[in-house]
Symmetry: C2
Subunit: 245 residues, 2 copies
């Protein structure tokens, strides 16, 4: 049974209040970094978005010239919302667990997955499959929680006696597997992997690494509450890879 | 003036007591991981070792069939010792700061640098130069301290009231630059970079990433004092890259 926290009404309601839910891509701190990792010209591309959520990336990709975008999410609440606010001709939304997907080899020119892969227990398997689903010359653009952020488990700072942030704790780094984190007030299972696994899984699947980026908050967001603390530890890892011709 | 802590007699004496100094490669926890990143066949290769220390890698590379190995180190005490214990025909040891080196393009088939690059203030510049010094198809194999290990500065655990290790602290991650760490009882300046910089500098220099490895202690060393704690945070980053043909 795949974890489907986003169909929990309370969790979904909380999620819908986040900046990235209300403002779309403009409310996501990593979007500037992720956007420049996408191919410059999307004309005619068939695209897969694994963990599409509200469909903001699907809309963007379509508007940039993609021919068809298939958005996959485990949560039907997410997809209902996507159909309401981000439906365009050429976009198909489908409810599925990413592990259950099957496509013929070389089905897509581009595969995007934003903040979804830390929910799968088998990252290596998903990477191998995504590599197979890509056409030669195809691009893979992924974001996930950073191994520094997932290693210990609770994903919270260490605080001093006056509630001030002291530092971010790292522990159990080389012990890969499930972590119980608290996200939007709910217990959520995420999977920690080392950076070695995150990167080498791509290389072992025959892909070429194009870019690795740990996004920093854009300068114009640094004045927002808590945002300067995001310079104290990496929270996300962005990877762009290419399937050789 | 380049920092030359290894020519400080007290520091050098301390360093000479470390397992990696006394036992050579067998005493270095990361050696197994690093060795498998080297080319399988070194026959006829011209090799550069940046920060060769006692010359253990130079000896190994020569014994594996390299034609010539040039070992560079800033410390003449290190090189004196290398000449005593790891001198073989074909090996040249030379005292220099890595930033002062100049070679014609395509001078080497292989460039190795073990735990030296976190001492240079300009990693990107050194990577660009190394890429230029490599022949097409040439290999670069690097080890350095891990960004998790260098970020905060002091490079020490956070301890509980009974002296037990609680976790490893990460802070100032996105603030690249000098850190004052304590190593073998002495103040040493090291340079912190993000993982983004460590990896993308290679890609931006036109190299292809072959492997990224955060080495774990070998199983047979886990019973040594303190070694199991090395599973709690990454301390080293190993990178192998190739110059396209």
């Amino acid at each position: 049974m795949k974890q489907n926290r986003y169909d929990d009404p309370v969790f979904f309601e909380q999620y819908s209040q986040m900046a990235r839910s209300q403002q779309g891509l403009a409310g996501a701190g990593e979007w500037l970094a992720l956007r420049q990792m996408l191919p410059e010209n999307l004309t005619g591309m068939r695209v897969l978005d694994l963990g599409c959520g509200y469909g903001w990336h699907c809309r963007y990709l379509m508007e940039q010239g993609a021919k068809r975008v298939l958005g996959i999410d485990l949560s039907h609440r997410m997809l209902e919302r996507a159909a309401e606010i981000n439906q365009l001709p050429g976009i198909t939304y489908r409810q599925a667990a990413m592990e259950d997907l099957r496509f013929p080899p070389q089905s897509f020119h581009l595969i995007v997955s934003s903040l979804a892969l830390h929910y799968t227990p088998d990252y290596r398997l998903m990477v191998r499959r995504m590599a197979r689903w890509l056409r030669p010359g195809g691009q893979l653009v992924l974001s996930m929680e950073h191994p520094v952020f997932t290693a210990q488990g609770p994903q919270d700072w260490v605080y001093g006696p006056d509630g001030e942030i002291r530092h971010f704790p790292v522990d159990h780094y080389f012990s890969e597997g499930a972590r119980e984190a608290v996200f939007l007030g709910q217990q959520v299972t995420k999977y920690h992997r080392t950076l070695t696994t995150c990167v080498n899984a791509l290389l072992e699947a025959g892909l070429t690494l194009r870019q690795l980026v740990e996004p920093q908050p854009p300068t114009d967001m640094l004045s927002l509450p808590g945002m300067a603390d995001e310079l104290r530890r990496p929270m996300m890892l962005l990877l762009a890879a290419e399937k050789p011709l």
